[in-house]
């Protein structure tokens, strides 16, 4: 009956209920949207690592960030390929270039050179063309989201990157990199564009056989290549992301705006719930006179805040899903990891309960004697 009373009062005081709901929705949506942009940016930085399909990455010694790593001898590929645990090993080349647009200006791009015929980590989403288009000499991809920056790009036409001719053989869809979008090409073409020292590559990707013991294999490769950094793919991804969180102030800046979102939400909830209790002071006094204990009044207000939280969280997540869907194929970086959802929900629930504390205090301070005056 207490919960029912709580619910009925909420339904009766529609204006304040909707106000509190808006507070909850604001928290979920603002915080969720901020976090998704933050995680989106982070995912850009480790985009190649995350989509490599490899188990292990070999980079230059002391690499903490895939985007700033030195050059390795390509000969390492053959040395690790010879190990019985290794399924395949592929060299990778990447670096920045400038793409000459059809409007005669230049746009920054990230060149990614993949060894034929395996082409890992090849583009994973195509708008036009396919992985096989990259087998041909001079073939390269551009990103569909860059079309408005690059001008009038046509498939199978020739363009220039770092004064080197490439033929656009395929168009990727929504593959977003950090400093400029990704242009995939084969290793030979990438060497030409980036003018890389012969016999060198940026990283070596390595896939283990399913029968191999990952930990043991990792240790063995580390021993085999003491001058290189040998990292599990997930470890390299994590290191790269935390490098940017720590070194760019992005974490702090987004953390701040996330807090502001949460703060606005909690203020709205606190004020509206407090207003609702002020309006209902007399009802609480009557209930107290009729036999409600202070704890019963606390339960009513608490249940109200939980009802508002749950409904608000549902609506907030619905709007967030719409936002994420709508930005999936846009230039806006958005990515919301699955594990974030329960955290955000619990966080919002906790804020709601905090927001109801002032209202609760007011509600239990109402004297039953006040109805007689």
């Amino acid at each position: 009956m207490r919960s029912l009373v709580a619910l009925k009062i909420l339904l009766h005081d529609k204006a304040t209920t909707i106000g509190s709901l808006i507070g909850v929705i604001a928290i979920v949506f603002l915080v969720g949207q901020q976090l998704s942009v933050l995680f989106g940016l982070f995912s850009y930085m480790s985009v190649l690592v995350d989509h490599s399909g490899a188990d292990i990455w070999i980079c230059t010694k002391n690499t903490v960030n895939i985007n700033s790593t030195g050059l390795l001898p390509v000969s390492y590929v053959d040395r690790v390929s010879a190990l019985p645990e290794v399924d395949w090993a592929e060299p990778l080349l990447f670096g920045s270039g400038t793409f000459k647009t059809t409007n005669d200006n230049f746009e920054a791009v990230q060149i990614v050179g993949l060894r034929t015929p395996k082409l890992v980590p090849g583009p994973w989403r195509f708008y036009a063309g396919s992985q096989n288009s990259l087998l041909e000499y001079e073939a390269a991809t551009v990103e569909r989201l860059d079309f408005n920056k690059f001008g009038d790009i046509k498939l199978n036409e020739f363009y220039e990157i770092n004064d080197t001719r490439v033929r656009i053989a395929a168009i990727t869809q929504s593959i977003k990199g950090f400093s400029g979008r990704l242009v995939f090409t084969n290793l030979a073409k990438a060497k030409e564009i980036l003018k890389t020292t012969p016999g060198r590559c940026k990283a070596i990707l390595l896939k283990l056989k399913t029968s191999a013991e990952p930990e043991a294999a990792l240790e063995r490769i580390k021993k085999l290549l003491p001058k290189a950094e040998v990292l599990a793919t997930s470890e390299l991804s994590r290191k790269t992301r935390s490098y940017y969180v720590v070194n760019t102030g992005m974490g702090g800046s987004f953390g701040f705006s996330t807090m502001v979102g949460a703060f606005i939400g909690i203020i709205i909830i606190t004020l509206t719930m407090y207003t609702a209790v002020l309006q209902r002071q007399k009802d609480f006094a009557v209930l107290r006179a009729l036999g409600a204990r202070k704890i019963d009044i606390v339960v009513i207000v608490l249940v109200q805040s939980l009802i508002i939280a749950v409904i608000g969280i549902f609506i907030g997540f619905f709007l967030l899903a719409l936002f994420l869907n709508g930005t999936h194929d846009s230039a806006l970086p958005t990515y919301f990891p699955r594990w974030m959802s329960p955290l955000l929900a619990v966080f919002t629930l906790a804020l709601c309960v905090c927001g109801s504390l002032l209202a609760m205090r007011k509600a239990i301070s109402v004297e039953p004697a006040s109805i007689f005056r």
Partner: protein, 233 residues
């Protein structure tokens, strides 16, 4: 036959602070209420009627003296225990009905029984229906208080006060906001209820027109009992 009083005040006094000075609003009062009695407490405005009523109702703490319910001393009980006693032993009717606008008429009658977290039994629901019917409110179960007239609201409030068969029914000027006709209906209902020998009704009023309903008339003046008379009927 001498029956045990259902409610007893012993040396009860009450002080209020208004600003800096302490003022004694209720002088030391000794009073015993017997079952089956319809007691009216009358007196001019400010004479301390409501203060006395709220002390009897365990809503206000006396500054001095003790309150007994059926010879159980309840003064000094913790707040939550007082609330439970109010729930079990008391019925309240206020000057304005004070129904919860968010609840239906029916829910208003049963709400107190569920307020400590219990669910409402079907026996209680039946009783609420019977009570509302006995007050001529059978078509109003699902109405919201806003849709009711003043007299109807006050009858719902009386039904709410009676739902637990209270030992003591306390009414603070229940007719002062009503027209003559509604006032008569309410007074007749209270009179009928007072004939039950297990219950005492105490009603506070400053309206002399309702004095004839009383079995016992207590007059308060300046916080003290000026006269206490039982009608000879």
């Amino acid at each position: 036959m001498i029956t045990e009083p259902i409610l007893q005040l012993s040396g009860v006094a009450r002080d209020f602070f208004d600003g800096k000075t302490q003022r004694r609003v209720l002088q030391k009062i000794d009073l015993a209420i017997s079952p089956g009695e319809f007691t009216i407490v009358a007196g001019p405005s400010g004479s301390g009627k409501t203060t006395l009523l709220t002390i009897m109702g365990l809503i206000l703490k006396p500054s001095e003296g003790d309150v007994f319910i059926r010879s159980e001393k309840v003064t000094g009980y913790p707040e939550s225990k007082m609330a439970s006693i109010r729930l079990q032993h008391y019925g309240f009717v206020f000057q304005l009905a004070e129904l919860l606008p968010a609840l239906s008429v029916f829910d208003n009658v049963v709400v107190a029984n569920g307020i400590q977290g219990k669910s409402i039994s079907s026996a209680l629901k039946k009783k609420a229906k019977d009570l509302l019917e006995s007050f001529g409110l059978q078509n109003m179960f699902h109405a919201k208080p806003l849709q009711l007239s003043g007299g109807e609201k006050q009858r719902v409030a009386i039904a709410r006060a009676l739902i637990n068969d209270p030992t003591v029914l306390l009414c603070d000027e229940p007719t002062s906001a009503l027209d003559a006709e509604s006032s008569t209906i309410v007074m007749d209902s209270l009179k009928r209820l007072s004939q039950d020998n297990t219950r005492g009704i105490i009603m506070v009023t400053h309206d002399p027109r309702v004095f004839p309903y009383a079995d016992r008339l207590i007059k308060l003046e300046n916080g003290a009992i000026a006269s206490d008379s039982k009608s000879s009927s």
